[in-house]
């Protein structure tokens, strides 16, 4: 909880990052989304293309925030903050969980900036605040899982430069290898199998169901997959976290 407060307080003092980070996803929506929807090249099952990709873009931007949250950790490692946290009388998994929650908070703020933009562009959300809330929960869970991956990566890649490279190498394939921009059916068969292993696929599916199509029949499976992914990543990150300062 303290970690979450830390992020909130940081954001209060300096909000630039959240605005600049919002530029890219907004471009996806405004430029890519509008152009692709005008040529109608992708079968989206009756949903306008812009609406189709909104969940994906939301997720991509939150995941982006989470994955690069590891950068903060690398920075905290370069300074003595991590050492001090590891010497503090709290269990290490608590520190990991705290950090991931903190990143989730940051990611949610990101989503709250992008959603109104999508609204302005004419994306039709399911008009039920509960659904939107559910979507935020999914976003939060997913970004927590990715923040854990980020901690895992940071434990091995101890410099910023290496981390940047790996970060990009994780996000883009996951983004393109999910149903964020196009239906899974359009992918080559091999990729279609791999998509099953991509946590973003489930997340996109869940969020799309909740806020765009209103079809929540997959939700239990999606949520289960995301939670399983989270737990797996938390455990791995907690185990690797110790190594980070060595």
């Amino acid at each position: 909880m303290a970690m979450m407060e830390l992020e909130l307080r940081r954001l209060r003092h300096d909000r630039t990052e959240i605005y600049t980070r919002a530029i890219q996803p907004i471009l996806w929506l405004v430029v890519y989304g509008t152009i692709m929807s005008s040529i109608r090249a992708i079968p989206t099952g009756g949903i306008p293309y812009l609406d189709f990709i909104t969940p994906g873009v939301l997720l991509q931007s939150t995941v982006f925030v989470s994955v690069f949250y590891g950068l903060t950790i690398v920075w905290e490692r370069d300074t003595g903050i991590l050492k001090k946290l590891l010497v503090a009388p709290v269990p290490r998994y608590a520190t990991v969980v705290g950090k991931t929650i903190a990143s989730g908070v940051r990611a949610l703020f990101q989503a709250l900036i992008i959603a109104p933009v999508a609204l302005i562009l004419g994306v039709k959300f399911v008009p039920n605040p509960l659904n939107f809330l559910g979507a935020l929960v999914i976003l939060f869970l997913v970004s927590g899982g990715f923040a854990a991956i980020s901690i895992l990566v940071a434990s091995f890649m101890k410099t910023r430069e290496r981390f940047m490279g790996i970060g990009q190498a994780i996000i883009m394939p996951l983004f393109f290898g999910s149903s964020a921009l196009y239906p899974v059916k359009m992918m080559p068969p091999l990729l279609q199998h791999l998509v099953v292993l991509n946590p973003l696929t489930y997340a996109v599916d869940a969020v799309r169901g909740l806020i765009i199509s209103g079809d929540v029949s997959h939700l239990p499976v999606d949520a289960a997959a995301i939670v399983a992914f989270d737990i797996l990543m938390f455990v791995a990150a907690s185990m690797s976290f110790r190594k980070i300062i060595e």
Binding site: D78, I81, K84, V87, P89, G98
Partner: protein, 343 residues
């Protein structure tokens, strides 16, 4: 405070036995260190960069596992009982360890939460810690705007939140200017007096070890070279020097030989009317030296006695000068701290 456990002596707050740490299978950072520290004192671990100071501290603060050997704090094994050890230690790493994009007060508040200090005491404790480090007036300023010394004091304040039994300070004043160093130390001494906290600090500044510590251990290339109070250490190398300015006449060879014959004198050299006599112990040797000269009828115009510095001590035990070794790395750390502050 001390708890019985296995057969480890609980009189000593810190007990280290045969500690070895090898990094990546080849770098021997610690090469069989033994050490015991009594509660309630200020203990300085003095050594050049790369001597193993930080490694030792990081093992004691449960950050690293030793390759072999054991270490205990309050009789608790730092490997097997790491979680317990962490409840009674405070630690300030060498690198900067506060968030610069929030205020000093917020930093402490967040650490207080991380440390699990109950909500009702939190505000009070944070303010106490800030005041005791002389930062009360800057609580609401962003840490970015703090000077190096203020950041250090904030870090110490942070470690104080837990009222630890023992405080580990890794190079507490590295990269600070003399007045900031002094301010940091004054505050450390104050809280030490107030709470009886044991302080364990690493340094390569001899003057700090000399001025502020009750006991000093000299470490070099992963080995403990010598342990004692500053006085004991300086005494132990028997390198006191007496300089005598002789008035009218210079001492002849026979006088020099007589001086050399004294059991307390190690070496004598003469340069015109000046005599330089190396002795084990000035206080003991001086009367005998004066006696010889008086018997020979040689008038003494002036007497100067010099005691060795800790650098001489270090030189005698480690074979190299501490000052010669404290070179570029220090500057690196300094510039790094600077960069972090700016960034």
């Amino acid at each position: 405070m001390a708890r019985k456990e296995e057969n480890i002596s609980t009189e000593n707050l810190v007990e280290v036995k045969g500690l070895v740490k090898i990094y990546q299978g080849k770098i021997r950072a610690l090469d069989g260190v033994d050490l015991s520290i009594k509660a309630g004192q200020i203990f300085a671990l003095l050594g050049p960069n790369g001597a193993g100071k930080t490694t030792l501290m990081r093992i004691l603060t449960t950050q690293l596992k030793p390759t072999s050997g054991q270490a205990f704090i309050f009789g608790r094994d730092v490997v097997k009982k790491a979680a317990e050890v962490r409840t009674c230690i405070g630690y300030v790493p060498q690198e900067m360890s506060v968030w610069t994009d929030i205020t000093g007060y917020e930093n402490l508040l967040i650490y207080a939460k991380i440390y699990g200090i109950p909500a009702k005491d939190r505000k009070k404790k944070v303010w106490e810690a800030l005041e005791s480090m002389g930062l009360g007036g800057f609580a609401k300023a962003l840490v970015k705007t703090f000077s190096g010394g203020m950041i250090r004091r904030l870090e110490v304040a942070c470690a104080l939140l837990l009222k630890p039994e023992i405080m580990f300070l890794d190079e507490p004043t590295i990269g600070l200017d003399p007045s900031a160093r002094k301010a940091v130390w004054e505050k450390i001494l104050t809280f030490k007096r107030e709470f009886g906290t044991t302080v364990f600090f690493n340094t390569h500044y001899m003057d700090e070890a000399d001025l502020y510590s009750d006991e000093i251990a000299i470490i070099d290339r992963g080995r403990m070279v010598k342990l004692g109070t500053a006085e004991e250490l300086k005494h132990s190398i028997k390198r006191d020097v007496i300089r005598l300015g002789l008035g009218s006449r210079s001492a002849g060879e026979s006088v020099l030989n007589k001086l050399r014959g004294l059991s307390l004198v190690n070496e004598v050299s003469a340069d015109n009317s000046e005599l330089t006599i190396a002795v084990g112990d000035v206080e003991a040797a001086l009367p005998a030296v004066i006696e010889v000269l008086r018997n020979e009828g040689i008038p003494i115009a002036k007497i100067a006695a010099t005691k060795p510095t800790l650098d001489d001590v270090f030189l005698a035990y480690a074979g190299t000068s501490l000052q010669a070794q404290a070179g570029p790395e220090v500057r690196d750390v300094r510039s790094m701290r600077g960069q972090i502050r700016k960034g």
